[in-house]
Amino acid sequence: MDSMRSDPAGSVSGAVGDPRESSLAVKILIAGGFGVGKTTLVGAVSEIRPLRTEAMLTEKSIGVDDTAMVAGKTTTTVAMDFGRITLPTGLVLYLFGTPGQDRFWFMWDELAQGALGAVVLVDTRRLADCFASVDYFERRGLPFIVAVNHFEGAKMYAPEQIRAALDLEDDVPVIITDVRTREAAKQVLITLVEHVLMATSRRR
């Protein structure tokens, strides 16, 4: 501490297991199609900030179907939203909105790494937009809930109809919400953490 020379440069990896060197932070992903309300949800419960990431297409997206659209480019900028909520106990919650377009799904591996769980936001008028997210989280074994963001003028469906349409497991919570209000957005996150808690206790 007193001298920078004594601090090994590799202290990032050496820090594992030392509680003083780690911070208690929880990461939650907000996924769903473009324009479904991810930004609204993050903004309803936290101060929202834009985050840019420079995706190296040549390294990371080989095999990704849509690279033809950006042929000749080696990097592309992906913009995401993120928000931070500091709980009264000091624990910090980070919310990350996944990039809306399918061709950026390779970013999700980094986002999903160490995440507690995910909220898949759904617009019933464009239900298919959330298929990729649902597939991804199922495959990865990351706990998730489905939150139907009800838009005015959209047809109302019962949670069970959504569950059937998305072919979800019985234990995946499906809620109907309007993420424009803070209370509703809070409840979405609470539902997710309760779901993770249930899954955790069941494993014991």
Partner: protein, 140 residues
């Protein structure tokens, strides 16, 4: 300057009009890092916490081979006097995450920052922590 771009299109737009939002920044993001795209240290998790280490005197002196610290490096040091996550640093600087990771690697090499990795809450969810999150959300 235009040798790596398409020639002007026939629809009458002039060169000057290329420099709109869609053409991206005039300075390529990785110009700030001297073209380096990989940080020297291990990966910086999005929610790892960066904290500036107080070093007496000028930082990085006597290491002739090293690149000098850029204004962006110094901004990070200034910002992280209050511990901040990697994502927040990138957002504050309005720089792409990859660029910020390279800059953070430089600072870590020089011992100018400290990194706290996120606790593996997700791998081993602890009921007490989860209940704390639920209660905290209710109280918001």
């Amino acid at each position: 300057m235009h040798d790596d771009t398409e020639p002007p299109h026939r629809d009458g737009r002039r060169d000057a009009e290329w420099l709109d939002h869609e053409s991206g920044p005039v300075v390529r993001p990785y110009a700030l890092t001297g073209g380096r795209t990989k940080p020297t240290a291990s990966d910086f998790d999005l929610i790892a916490i960066i904290e500036t280490v107080d070093v007496p005197g000028e930082a990085g002196d006597g290491h002739g081979e090293r690149l000098p610290l850029s204004p962006e490096h110094l901004t990070i040091c200034e910002l992280c006097r209050t511990p901040l996550s990697v994502a927040e640093v990138a957002s504050e600087l309005d720089l792409a995450l990859g660029v910020v990771r390279v800059l953070l690697g430089d600072l870590l090499d020089r011992g100018l920052i400290r990194v706290r990795r996120p606790a593996p809450v997700a791998q081993f969810p602890n009921e007490r922590v989860l209940k704390e999150v639920i209660d905290g959300l209710h109280a918001l």
